[in-house]
């Protein structure tokens, strides 16, 4: 929790009252590798701030194949935002790829915090802005970059994720086959 408070205060002001309220609506949780925080098809109430470990959100298609949407490491947020903001059942599953620690927030409590403490709204807006930029970049990269370039960007930005993931997690995240990913890795190893 202290990591989150520090992260907020590094760029925003946060009153003691707001800080205390944030503490009161949070709970620290530990999960083992393989544990599931959100399950596709179920109701979603919580969002998670990662303080240690590595998580993944994914969905499965009608044929039963998994597709990775997002990874989350330290200081990242993860949840099924479609479910939370549309009041629908989860379309994603969120699982731990290694032993992880998170701070859990009920989404409605966070929503109330925005009303009680307007300064927190700026922090949330900045997160959303960065998220929109990240999503747009990901779409553009998918359109403009080769698979090899997308992989190089991925491991440059997130060097530690590879050690916790299966080959197929990364392949589906990049939108390529496992065979293509293996070929790219072999090529990269030569250079």
């Amino acid at each position: 929790m202290e990591e989150l408070i520090e992260k907020i205060k590094s760029n925003h002001s946060l009153s003691q009252e707001a800080e205390d309220y944030l503490h009161s609506i949070s709970s620290k949780k530990s999960f083992a590798k393989g544990e599931v925080l959100i399950r596709q098809g179920q109701q979603v109430q919580n969002v998670y701030f990662v303080t240690d470990g590595c998580l993944r959100s994914y969905c499965y298609d009608k044929n039963g194949k998994e597709h990775t949407l997002q990874f989350a490491i330290k200081n990242w947020w993860i949840s099924d935002y479609i479910a939370i903001h549309s009041d629908e059942s989860a379309t994603l599953t969120v699982e731990c790829l290694k032993e992880s620690e998170v701070v859990k927030f009920n989404a409605k409590d966070l929503e109330l915090m925005l009303t009680l403490f307007p300064e927190f709204e700026r922090f949330q807006r900045k997160i959303l802005e960065r998220h929109v930029v990240s999503l747009n970049k990901r779409i553009l990269n998918q359109l403009q970059l080769t698979a090899s370039e997308r992989y190089t960007l991925f491991i440059t930005q997130y060097p530690e994720i590879e050690q916790y993931t299966h080959n197929y997690h990364i392949a589906s995240y990049l939108g390529i086959t496992q065979e293509s990913l293996s070929r790219i890795r072999v090529e990269n190893a030569k250079h």
């Binding site: 599931v36 399950r39 596709q40 098809g41 179920q42 994914y58 499965y60 044929n63 039963g64 194949k65 998994e66 299966h166 080959n167 197929y168 392949a171 589906s172 496992q178 065979e179 293996s182």
Partner: protein, 327 residues
């Protein structure tokens, strides 16, 4: 719910029928799986024909098949290792046989989450053949640099056994017909023997393990090619004495021919009777996700064409698994 049932012993075209039955009851240790796909195996055909009446008698009507992949939609009170919504696969126990159905209740010990990188149809084709291969080769203690002959490399069990053996670092000889040589090579076998043009006995000599998936003369011939002190593992030959005792056949003796060959070569003989095992399916799941094992699917039939699927199975010419898509 709709199911495909065996209504009598006899020819495929006369012995299978679609029926409406109740959804299965879920015991405390069961999960209820909404079936997305089922797979049929040679044992399913043998049961319909009545060839296994003595060993595996069934009441009529009985829903057919053992292999399944689908989604957990209910679970018993004592189940803690699965949740509603989990995508799973299983080779169900004998008493819960009946996966060509909309739902099947299975003891959770026989179930595993399915590999995430393959479809329900591909996953359904793995359990029975995969467990047969894994349990056979694990019994043999297969390890790096072992030399193994796997017969019928294009078959359901053979194709998975090749991949499992290669994952363990063994050198793999396999037999298959001309038209299958290329794709069996692509499974990773080191030496693919075209039995139509080559004599495998002159090529695969003094191997550490012979994996007999053909039976008949091939079981005895296994002792010609296995090395002194090696192992012959069979899933289609006669029972070995220890396995026969497990089935209550206390006075059973290995056929004299095999007993003599086994003694002369000082090579052991073992019949592997595959059993359901969720933990081993979880091991296979990891190997599939790591691309050490890939499923081989011949044809996917819609539920309404299940009898055609059995007819195809009967030809013995399928390259990989025959799958029935249920939902």
């Amino acid at each position: 719910m709709r199911v495909l049932q065996i209504v009598k012993y006899g020819e495929i075209k006369d012995s299978l029928a679609f029926n409406e039955v109740s959804k299965p009851a879920v015991q405390a240790t069961d999960v209820l799986i909404e079936v997305k796909a089922a797979a049929i195996n040679p044992i399913d055909k043998s049961i319909v024909l009545g060839n296994l009446q003595g060993l595996l008698p069934i009441p009529f009507p009985s829903t057919s098949a053992y292999d399944v992949s689908g989604i957990v939609v209910e679970k018993g009170d004592d189940v803690s290792n699965f949740e509603i919504g989990d995508l799973v696969y299983s080779r169900v126990p004998q008493e819960q046989m009946g996966t060509i159905a909309e739902y099947v209740a299975v003891t959770s010990e026989a179930v595993s989450k399915k590999p995430g990188n393959i479809s329900f149809e591909e996953a359904a084709g793995i359990p029975l053949a995969g467990l047969t291969a894994l349990q056979s080769l694990e019994f043999a203690g297969i390890k790096a640099n072992d030399r193994i002959l796997i017969h019928a490399g294009s078959g359901g069990v053979g194709s998975l056994a090749i991949q499992y053996a290669k994952a363990k670092g063994a050198y793999v000889y396999t037999t298959t017909s001309t038209e299958n040589v290329q794709w069996v090579k692509e499974l990773g076998a080191d030496r693919v023997i075209d039995y139509k043009t080559e004599d495998y006995k002159t090529i695969a000599k003094d191997v550490d393990i012979v994996y007999d998936t053909l039976g008949q003369k091939y079981t005895a011939e296994a002792f010609e090619v296995v090395r002194k002190g090696g192992q012959v593992i069979s899933v289609v030959g006669p029972l070995d004495e220890e396995t026969a005792k497990m089935f209550g056949m206390a006075d059973y003796k290995l056929p004299e021919e095999l007993a003599t060959l086994s003694a002369e070569k000082d090579a052991s003989y073992k019949f592997i009777f595959m059993h359901p095992n969720g933990a081993q399916l979880a091991e296979i799941k990891t190997m599939v996700e790591d691309k050490k094992i890939k499923p081989i699917v011949d044809t996917i039939y819609p539920f309404t064409e299940s009898v055609a699927a059995f007819t195809h199975l009967e030809t013995g010419r399928a390259k990989g698994k025959i799958i029935i898509k249920i939902n």
